[in-house]
């Protein structure tokens, strides 16, 4: 069981102390730390446990009443299009029409990829970045929160 808090602390310690390698083992302890020139670049380890990239501890609002701690946002390995606001996700402009985008579609920064409805206002969400849609991370009608990944790009 890898503890996010612990990872975060490790990363901070790496950065603050200019470490280049940390290697824990823990079949009854076995630490290895490297520092200064000659070690692997820090960036390699960085992304995964970085606070920003860590899944929000909050419940996905689409799962009502789920304790905050338990739920989690589906992880996306590639770049993502995130929700700029809290609201309800709609893949299409109306039930009859097809989804704005589906896996395999290419999008430009200006492409409308979905609608997020908040306070009766239907906000068209743009891709903000060009790329090819790999997968849709939320379902039609899901509640989404700020910064929640909606689409994964290749």
């Amino acid at each position: 069981m890898i503890d996010l808090k612990k990872l975060e602390k490790l990363i901070t310690m790496m950065a603050e102390n200019d470490l280049t390698e940390i290697e824990l083992d823990d079949g009854t302890e076995k630490v290895q730390l490297k520092r200064g020139s000659g070690g692997a670049p820090v960036q390699v380890l960085a992304p995964a446990p970085l606070p920003a990239a860590a899944p929000a501890p909050a419940a996905t609002p689409s799962a009502p009443g789920v304790p905050a701690a338990e739920a989690s946002v589906p992880a996306a390995s590639g770049p993502t299009i995130d929700s700029p606001m809290v609201g309800t996700f709609y893949a299409a402009s109306n039930p009859e029409s097809p989804a704005f985008v589906k896996p395999g579609d290419s999008v430009t920064a200006d492409s409308v990829v979905c609608i997020v409805e908040a306070m009766k206002v239907f906000n068209e969400i743009k891709a903000e970045t060009a790329g090819k849609v790999k997968s849709v991370l939320v379902s039609n009608g899901d509640a989404v929160e700020f910064g929640q990944p909606l689409f994964e790009l290749e």
Partner: protein
């Protein structure tokens, strides 16, 4: 009772409100900015929604996002806590328009008591002592000079919509009055979008005494006695206690009854605080009314046994107060020290960052309200208060002794806090003998 309450706040007050919500068997929804994603209120809530970036305007002050969060989580009420949108009438109205109960006073009562000029008129009508000064707004310099002559210098120029010291000026003569009116008015216009100002007698040496009031939607209003918040620094309260150590029972009863009478006249419900300055002759002068739960509400909870936050929720749900005025008795003495993450060596500059070690004090008569703990990283985006340490004992002396014991026991590192300052103040002879006024701490620290 409500099914699900959204807490539109963060930090220790969000934690405090979630505790009350859970004890009522109601679900709690936390909202948080990206800076607070690891905060305790997020872990405690049944659900948590990220509403935006750290900047308050992007999150805790962003009405559309808060309402949207309430809608997607089907919350039927919102508790604003203190600060942020707690006294924002527009927010209360939007909640009402969206059929979400705003856990606070009615928009009307908020207006009557929130605006300083109308509040003062209400006070005078209900025989609540106010400072001599303009009955209403000062429209031109001539009127200001006339009133200043009547009540005598020094006078205080205040903004009707003011708060937190902004739009305030002290004038010692006609010249400084004229310039003061213009400055205060401009400052108020910028800060609150309303440049209305008024004039009051300036109280030289005073204590800060405030009355806790609680009302329901059925016209019942009681007071929960008073608090003394004389120990301040830069207009920020540092140490609060209840009851006020220098009042006789008659003086206490008189001012508390007057405060409750005034709120009843305003049709006020939920928790509110009527703040007074009290001069050396124990004459009271109304300062303002805070139409929300107060940071220092716990000291009143300790001496009365009333769970004030829980009551604000019950009242919002339409329940009548479960007690009458005669049921509210004072038991012992309570004290609160605000634990801020500040570095005394750096002129009390807030210090954010990781708290590595955190061992809270405990034992009899000790209460800690905090969202912090070992491994918590204090974000640089918000105020520096990381907790409130409260002690309760038979009398003031024992409450102070207990507080000193608890402060000595409190282990926080490497974060610098106000703990050493509190220890110093609690051992100060003037504090022990109540020979203090609201400028005491600043004089002591040479600020």
């Amino acid at each position: 009772m409500f099914n699900r309450i959204l807490i539109a706040n963060r930090g220790e007050i969000a934690v405090r409100i979630i505790r009350a919500v859970h004890e009522l068997g109601v679900e709690a929804v936390a909202v948080y900015s990206t800076a607070d994603k690891d905060s305790k209120h997020v872990r405690m809530a049944d659900r948590a929604v990220c509403i935006g970036k750290p900047a308050p305007a992007e999150s805790y002050l962003n009405i559309p996002r808060l309402i949207a969060a309430a809608e997607v989580t089907d919350a039927d009420a919102i508790h604003p806590g203190y600060g942020f949108l707690a006294e924002n009438a527009h927010f209360a109205e939007v909640c009402r328009d969206c059929n979400i109960e705003f856990i606070g006073p009615s928009v009307e009562a908020m207006g009557k008591l929130g605006d300083k000029v109308s509040c003062k008129q209400l006070a005078i009508a209900n025989k609540v002592p106010t400072s001599p000064g303009s009955k209403g707004a000062i429209t031109d310099e001539k009127k200001g000079l006339k009133i200043a002559k009547e009540i005598g210098y020094p006078v205080m120029i205040k903004a009707s919509a003011g708060g937190g010291g902004r739009g305030m000026r002290v004038a010692h003569n006609d010249n400084s009055l004229v310039s003061g009116i213009n400055q205060a008015s401009a400052e108020a216009k910028a800060a609150f979008g309303d440049g209305t100002v008024y004039i009051e007698k300036f109280i030289e040496s005073a204590r800060h005494v405030e009355v806790q009031v609680l009302g329901d939607k059925h016209g019942n209003v009681v007071h929960l006695w008073e608090r003394d918040c004389t120990m301040q620094r830069r207009k920020q309260k540092l140490i609060e206690e209840a009851p006020c150590p220098v009042l006789s029972d008659d003086e206490r009863k008189a001012i508390c009854t007057a405060a409750a009478r005034m709120c009843k006249a305003a049709g006020y419900y939920t928790a509110g605080t009527v703040e007074f300055l009290m001069d050396a002759n124990k004459d009271f002068y109304l300062m303002e009314v805070n139409t929300r739960v107060q940071v220092e509400h716990p000291v009143t909870e300790m001496i009365t046994g009333v769970d004030i936050v829980k009551q604000t929720i019950r009242v919002a749900a339409g329940e009548p107060l479960p007690f009458k005025q005669k049921d509210i008795k004072i038991s012992g003495h309570a004290m609160e020290c605000r634990i801020n993450a500040e570095d005394p060596a750096m002129n009390f500059a807030p210090c954010a960052g990781l708290i590595e070690d955190f061992n809270a004090p405990g034992g009899p008569g000790v209460r800690l309200d905090t969202h912090a703990g070992a491994g918590y990283r204090i974000p640089p985006n918000y105020d520096s208060m990381i907790g409130k340490l409260i002690t309760h004992a038979r009398d003031r002396e024992q409450a102070i002794t207990r507080m000193l014991r608890a402060l000595a026991e409190f282990e926080i590192s490497p974060t610098k806090t106000t703990i050493p300052l509190h220890t110093r103040l609690l051992k100060n002879g003037s504090f022990l003998s109540n020979d203090t006024d609201i400028n005491f701490v600043e004089r002591l620290l040479g600020l």
